[in-house]
Amino acid sequence: MTLVVDGMRRSHGAFELGPIDLAVDEEVLSVLGPSGCGKTTLLSTIAGTVTPDAGTISLGGLDLTGRPPEKRGTVLVFQDGALFPHMTARENVAYAASSEKRVEELADALEIDAVLDQRADTLSGGERQRVALARSLAADPDALLLDEPLANLDAPIKRRLRDELRPLLASLDVPVIYVTHDQREATAIGDRLAVIADGELLQLDTPDEVFAHPATPFVASFTGSTNLFRGAVVETGTGRALDWNGRRLDAAIGGATVGETVQFCIRPEYVTLAADETRNSVEGAITRRVFEGDGYLLDVVPDGGDEAVRLALSPPAYERAGLDERDRVRLALPADAIHVIGGVEECSAIGPARR
């Protein structure tokens, strides 16, 4: 069964979503985007609680546009679970389930047996989402839509539920759309990843591909590729390279022509410490150090430049290097890790392209 969103548009005041074109097979599609980008509106139009201004939505060849929410086979999981507070967890699941046996099965699968007879409004955040998931699965969805189901959970519970969700959602064999603003969640859960900003679908590909080759500067920065610079394409004699503030950087230039100014990015994890001066190496001083718990981020401003290059180091690598703020280091920007995004005129701001 395939869920198809075709040329869908929906505007609300000054905000405009779309046109959105998507085809989701029996897979998990993560939709990643900042708050207010239109992710929730997208889900609401698929679920039928919001009517699109234009375009169609179909599931397994059946046109859903204009059908009431209960006649679509799409089941929506809400950010805070939207459990019925006057019912117990069991009653919530049973509300959608065809039999008592199904309730027990789902309670087992989602490990909520212990809280099944508690009133829904007494459950903890994690329990609430487990019950909400059990309830939505009890309805035997033909397509499952999840709207930031983990957004309001504490970090350890969030991580645990996230890791449980991935196999659970993949085993459903129905189209699943998982909306989140958290890039880690999006990549951990989705078979494919769509990035939306300002109501516009910017890129749709496998998570690896989106991370390695972001289509726009916004996708690059939102997926953590924070080293985003401008350079000019120059002729080297043996081919083309980038001129970045007077430095020569080897990189796969793609379709850009000589003389064109382009934006390029490199993920901080791919920047390395270099022992000697090599091609694509820069020297500078560490201006900032951020400890993120699972790693260190170092901002290095190359000599004669003003844009900092960010470098991510694992704790062991950081300790081995014995670095601190204001130390001088040499960085290597590997040519195969540099991704040229496109001409500056196309994406002049770090943000979604506006036309």
Binding site: P69, V75, P85, A138
Partner: protein
Amino acid sequence: MATRTDAARSRTTLFGFDWLTVALVLGGVLCLYYLTPLVSLFLSVPPGEILARMTDSTVVDAATTSLLSASISTTVATVFGLPLAYWLARSESGWTNAVLGVVVLPLVLPPTVGGIVLLTVFGPGAPIGAAAASAGVPLTRSLAGVVLAQTFVASPFVVVTAKAAFEGVDRTLEHASRSLGKGRWTTARNVTLPLAMPGIAAGVTLTFARAMGEFGATMMLSYYPRTMPVQIWVSFIELGLDNAYPIAVLLLLISVAALAILNTVAANPWQ
């Protein structure tokens, strides 16, 4: 630092204390003003005498008429009012404000004017009233007239209170129910109504209490059969204040019972 905080605190305390005293005195006077006449009513008539008069046929008839008509009016108001209240709470149409204005109109209209307005439609001289009367269902000087008057004056309470109750139900819950494959009616019955029930119960109680006390419009539309408020008036005019006491006490007790219901099963709409 510590001194400054202490000084600031004592200044606010002093300031707050003054205002608190004034507020308590003003509020206390008002509360006494409410309670003193009620207590005085009980004290002015010996309980034995009231109990003895409770069995008077006029008192029994008036109580029966009032309880019966108020129950019918409340049922009619609830049946017609709940769907309207739901629509008012959920609709994004620009008409909601205008409709709400129409609903609230009987609340601000003096009840006697309400009675006159109703007479122009249901009175024996008006087409509808005349037709009904010739069909053997007179709409004035009848139980039907009492119900018409009470419904007109009292029904806005259930609509307005239930509207607020419906607005208090998170729409997401309704969306969740629909998305789980349940239609509008199943959703309303299992999700919206149970969650709005305390507020709806409050509205129903208020409507009943208002219908029991309705005098102005009922007086114009249906002097007979006499409801309790009308009987109080008649007893007072014809036989003097003493004779109005028993029914007044009865009505007072019903009002207290309504208040008790508001504070237990129903959501108190003022809290």
